[in-house]
Amino acid sequence: EMIRAIQKLTLKEGIGRFIKYSTLEIRDLDFFKKTLGREDAVLTSAVDVAKYNEEYRKKYFGTSKCVLKPKSTEEVSKILAHCNERKLPVVPQGGRTSMVVGATPLLGEIVINLERMDTIYELSPYTGIIKLQAGAILENVDKYCKDREFVFPLDLGARGSCQIGGNLSTNAGGLHYVKYGSLHANTVGLIAVLANGKILDTLHSHRKDNTGYDLKQLFIGGEGTLGIITEAAVLCYPHPISSSLAMLCAKSFEEVKGILVGAKRKFGNNLSAIEMMDNHCYELVLKNIPQVRAPFGQERSPYYMLIETNHNGSQTDSNDTLMSFIEGLKINNAILAMDRAQTQCIWQIREKIADAFEKEGRTFKYDVSLNVDQFKEIVEIVRTRVKEKALVGGYGHVGDGNIHINVTPRSKEFINEVQDLIEPYVLEQVGKMRGSISAEHGVGYAKNKYLHLSRSQNCINTMKIIKQTLDPNGIMCPQKIFPLSQFGYIAS
């Protein structure tokens, strides 16, 4: 009867699957050990596996009992073929820096971590296309490119631990999105392994290739639900000859909008980053992050902006161009970074906002896309909703139309109350404003109930059809993007 009830639920829209997973057995472990060839590529003891079960904010805990670390695409293919046949759920994993619980094995799935696949093959000086394995850490890739005077089109705060495979599967945005665009645009090819072990090889080094459906786009942003990306070819850009970073105070949101328009017009493609934060974020960073030094002394301003520009001339020319732009805006409170250490210091003020909020207490984070006019509106809506019970700060990639809103209850008693007030209220408001409920962080597990707020039912149904076709047994990342209630699930 229970089975019939679940079947009824899943087949409500005529789309749904009834899935029965198996549990891990000794013969599976033997198979993995034989395929991967090394003892330390298959981790089963509680001590070894603990690290891979961790989640970024320590709010959820995975229950995986087996971690596999393959070294090549063929090994991944054999593992997945076996898991598909045996109906064992898996979760591909990289640096575990997901903001939406995308890599945590909440149902005890087998973890396939690509950390041993970190080879960078080559970077062509003519095209700038870099070929690498998906387990390469972003910071190492960035260094490799810089040594050859190129720059990887993605840069984000978690660069020390996140892997390229994870970046690709979440279509990560990053700090320089306004200049380089998304990974959808910059990925030239990739190798992905489907759930049944078949290898889809679209890895080549040609930017233009209109031969049939562009399958790689399914996996970029697919969050591992359709297949595992094992190798990729990404377009890199020549490293800017000089760059300048300035931080300035804006007296109102109108001024922020004016600066945004002016900067895009004046610098065009040379505008490599433009970020905004409000005074609540600024104060918290100064208060909670010890190594940051206050750029404006004791003065406070309602909004702050960071502008980074590139130039093809000397450092002095770059600084002068940026300074003359700021002078033209009649802003008199602005600072310029004069060396690398100051540049890093100013970026820390922006990159550590999330950490500063976390230090105050449990933080609810929203990452949404809206029209720039609506940025102020949404933060006001949230602030009015929680009144004095929580700290609210708005900041983000104003150049990309992407704002982050952090809400931290002022004390532990308020946590449940604030949670009821804002979830799902905030995302519903964003849906009403026709914004995106997840601009760059993805859906994962944390937002899988809210997809309908930004996507029409037809879109979601089509996504489910694709999921069922490519992964009929539902072994890839169960619960991510689509909640389990939409695919029936029983564990044996």
Partner: protein
């Protein structure tokens, strides 16, 4: 006898300050030794203000704002591209700058003796009361310029200052950081030399008003060869190479330490000389 007015004038006399500013490799960059040449090639590398000089500049600007200094002047020895760093110092608030131009590499070809001679020349010629220098330059790591200047001039000096106070009576108190603790020194006469430690202050960021004003501030340019000093370096650095890679450390169980000592013939630290 001096009238009361003269005494007040002497006590309230503001001091003239000279600040050392060095243009060197950006502190955040990793130094690369060209193995083929056996040299550090700085062409094309990003250069900036030596962080300890930045602290000296910040201190000078603060004391000028507090009314202790009447004027602040920076002194830089470097190539034509050192103007960028001089402008940074001017933008932070220094009043004027002296730029000693040379095409020689300031990290290997200009010894501390030469730098000290240049400083001595200007302290005597322009009658500076206080010279603030960074304690060390992060490229050559010599850490001896301020000491040599004081020796040449026979004037008091204090290194590694983490606090400087200018008293009303005209004395200068300096707290020095040493391995044994904080040492307090009082200077009773000027001129005096103080070299600055990292805990003296946190330098300010350059702001747009400062940059605008810096454009109109005076930079006096003089060639090194035109100064009446001996500018020959009395030594020559023949090659530079990187440290050998350190052996990786291993974790050892306590019981196995005896074997390890025997195996690697580790000598105990305090050995007798017999």
């Amino acid at each position: 006898t001096q009238s009361t007015w003269d005494i007040i004038q002497i006590r309230m006399r503001q001091l003239k300050c000279l600040v050392g500013v060095k243009h060197c490799l950006d502190n955040a960059l990793r130094v690369r030794v060209d193995k083929a040449k056996g040299w550090v090639d700085l062409t094309g590398c990003k250069m900036s203000l030596n962080p300890y000089c930045e602290i000296a500049v910040e201190e000078a600007v603060r004391q000028k704002a507090a009314g202790v200094f009447s004027s602040t002047t920076s002194l830089t020895i470097g190539g034509p591209d050192a103007v960028e760093t001089i402008r940074t110092a001017l933008a932070m608030g220094i009043d004027q700058a002296i730029h000693i131009v040379t095409n020689r590499a300031t990290d290997v070809d200009i010894s501390s003796l030469i730098v000290a001679r240049v400083f001595k020349h200007f302290i005597q010629a322009n009658k500076f009361d206080v010279a603030l220098l960074g304690k060390i330059a992060i490229d050559d790591n010599n850490e001896q310029t301020s000491q040599i200047i004081s020796g040449m001039l026979g004037i008091p000096f204090a290194t590694n200052a983490n606090k400087i106070a200018f008293e009303k009576e005209g004395t200068i108190s300096v707290c020095r950081e040493t391995d044994e603790g904080i040492e307090k020194i009082q200077f009773l006469t000027t001129p005096a030399i103080i070299s600055c430690e990292s805990r003296l202050n946190v330098p300010r960021f350059v702001n747009i008003m400062g940059l605008k004003r810096a454009k109109s501030k005076k930079i006096e340019t003089i060639k090194l060869e035109d100064l009446p000093i001996d500018h020959h370096c009395n030594y020559k650095i023949t090659s530079i190479k990187e440290h050998e890679k350190k052996r990786a450390s291993q974790r050892v169980e306590l019981s196995k330490i005896g074997e390890l000592i025997k195996e690697h013939m580790i000598q105990p630290i305090f050995a007798s000389t017999t």
